[in-house]
């Protein structure tokens, strides 16, 4: 097998072990666990002992969508930073202006976007 792929074999084995562990403990608790009676009261959603009101999944604030959108944007930025970080020192010797200037301009553009989101009060949760 290719040695690059072989590196990932232990990850696969660990995944199987983890899945096996999670699956077997869940199965064991079904087999060994006490079987109680199913009553109508027991099947009510827990709301501190009160009868549940309205649908189970309440409407949520649109802010959460905004966070998810911004996350996608900035997480991709972070992913782009890693390869740059790794070769940074090495590139400094060859072409310092390119490696530093390139990333400063990239971060600058993104920082403008960050300031825009800030100005639009996307991170302000008090409202």
């Amino acid at each position: 097998m290719d040695s690059q792929l072989l590196q990932y074999l232990p990850v696969l084995i660990l995944l199987l072990v983890a899945i096996g562990f999670a699956g077997s403990t869940l199965a064991l608790s079904v087999i060994l666990g006490k079987t109680g009676r199913r009553t109508a009261t027991k099947d009510i959603a827990y709301e501190c002992g009160m009868l549940p009101e309205g649908p189970g999944s309440a409407r949520m604030s649109v802010k959460f969508y905004l966070v998810a959108l911004l996350f996608v944007l900035f997480d991709i930025e972070v992913v782009f930073l890693y390869p740059w970080a790794v070769i940074y020192k090495q590139m400094l010797r060859e072409n310092a202006a390119l490696i530093l200037g390139g990333m400063v301009s990239f971060l600058g553009v993104l920082f403008v976007g960050f300031l825009y989101a800030l100005k639009k009060r996307a991170f302000d949760w008090t409202r």
Partner: protein
């Protein structure tokens, strides 16, 4: 025992891997069980209480002095807890979304255990071809960030599957919090990798190996601080435990869960805490290297020494996790988001910029 060295390298590699995985997995599970006990005991001491001191197995009475002492320390408590989790009623309420309800606990626990794969927990045990890391990936840190992100799915699914208001709110809060702090966390370590120049975590340890002065925590204190605080948010622990803030959401996303399904969430949380501590030890505190340095181990005992050194450093950081829990009040949600987005992200960016400039200045 020597027969193993006559096998071809691939078979050897697979066999070594399986042994390492099983041992690491069992050790992690034990650590999780006793982290719960440590949490309860340390909480008790901080609050001037006694803590768990009752669980007594039948064989404790045959151990003359040690038996009662161990019982007082609560050493048998995790065993009793584990047994109880197995034997309690595993109730699936009628109103839940069944498939996701069963999937969510497994999806929380599995990524938590997967993170340990890339962490070098020791040098070698005498055989230089067999480093003490489960998977020595060249993309190390990217792998662990990827896996940590997967943990969000379990929590979101738990909130969605429960089809009930408290879990729903807990799940949605938790996901927003975890993805927010993931950015700050990811950005903070970029500066570390700029200094080191390799994403492989074994190389990271090697770089810091010389002695205590080479540890990354001194060279990148701001990165360490951001990483530490983000780790608290990522593992949903106080002062950022809004997803399960008892006083408002009962238990958050696991309110409707019982028995082993609940235990898997608990396990996942503590396994994440262990993984975060291990990651911090690797990135900022020299991994398995002794404070006075020394390089890779020559013999079996030296290797064990390195593993012990790693575990001790990890335990200290886990102690910090537990300690902080009782030192700070819980943040408000807007304060939490404010800290993550408006403080840490610009701060991490500035840290990257400063590191870049300093490295450029030093180069000439």
């Amino acid at each position: 025992m020597d027969a193993i060295y006559y096998l071809d390298p691939t078979t050897q590699f697979v066999l070594f891997s399986i042994v390492k995985i099983v041992v690491a997995f069992v050790i992690t599970l034990t650590f999780v069980a006793y982290a719960v006990l440590a949490e309860r005991k340390i909480s008790a001491w901080i609050q001037d209480r006694v803590g768990p001191n009752r669980a007594t197995p039948f064989f404790a009475q045959y151990l003359p002095v040690i038996g009662p002492a161990l019982v007082r320390l609560g050493i048998f408590q995790p065993m009793a807890d584990g047994l109880k989790f197995l034997l309690k009623e595993d109730f699936t309420p009628a109103y839940v979304r069944k498939v996701y309800f069963w999937l969510a606990p497994a999806l929380t626990a599995i990524p938590a255990f997967m993170t340990i794969a890339v962490i070098p927990f020791g040098s070698t045990l005498g055989n230089p071809n067999n480093p003490m890391v489960i998977a020595d990936l060249n993309v190390g840190i990217l792998y662990s960030f990827g896996i940590v992100s997967l943990g969000v799915y379990g929590i979101v699914l738990a909130g969605y599957a429960s089809n009930s208001k408290y879990p729903f709110l807990g799940g949605i809060r938790s996901s927003a919090q975890m993805i927010s702090y993931e950015i700050a966390m990811g950005m903070s370590v970029v500066a570390v990798f700029m200094v080191i120049g390799d994403l492989n975590l074994s190389k990271v340890v090697e770089y810091q190996g010389a002695n205590i002065l080479h540890w990354m925590a001194w060279k990148q204190p701001l990165a360490f601080f951001i990483f530490l605080v983000s780790a608290f948010a990522e593992t949903n622990r106080l002062p950022f435990d809004l997803p399960e803030s008892e006083s408002e959401l009962v238990g958050g996303y696991h309110t409707e869960y019982s028995s082993m399904k609940f235990a898997l969430f608990f396990l996942g949380e503590y396994a994440n805490m262990i993984a975060a501590s291990a990651m911090m030890v690797t990135l900022f505190f020299g991994g398995w290297a002794y404070p006075w340095g020394g390089g890779a181990a020559q013999g079996f005992l030296g290797g064990v020494g390195h593993i012990v050194c790693f575990l001790v450093k990890m335990l200290v950081l886990m102690g910090v996790f537990i300690w902080v829990r009782w030192m700070f009040p819980r943040f408000r949600y807007d304060q939490l988001m404010d800290l993550g987005w408006r403080r840490f992200i610009p701060l991490a960016l500035v840290n990257i910029l400063v590191t870049a400039l300093v490295l450029a200045a030093l180069n000439d």
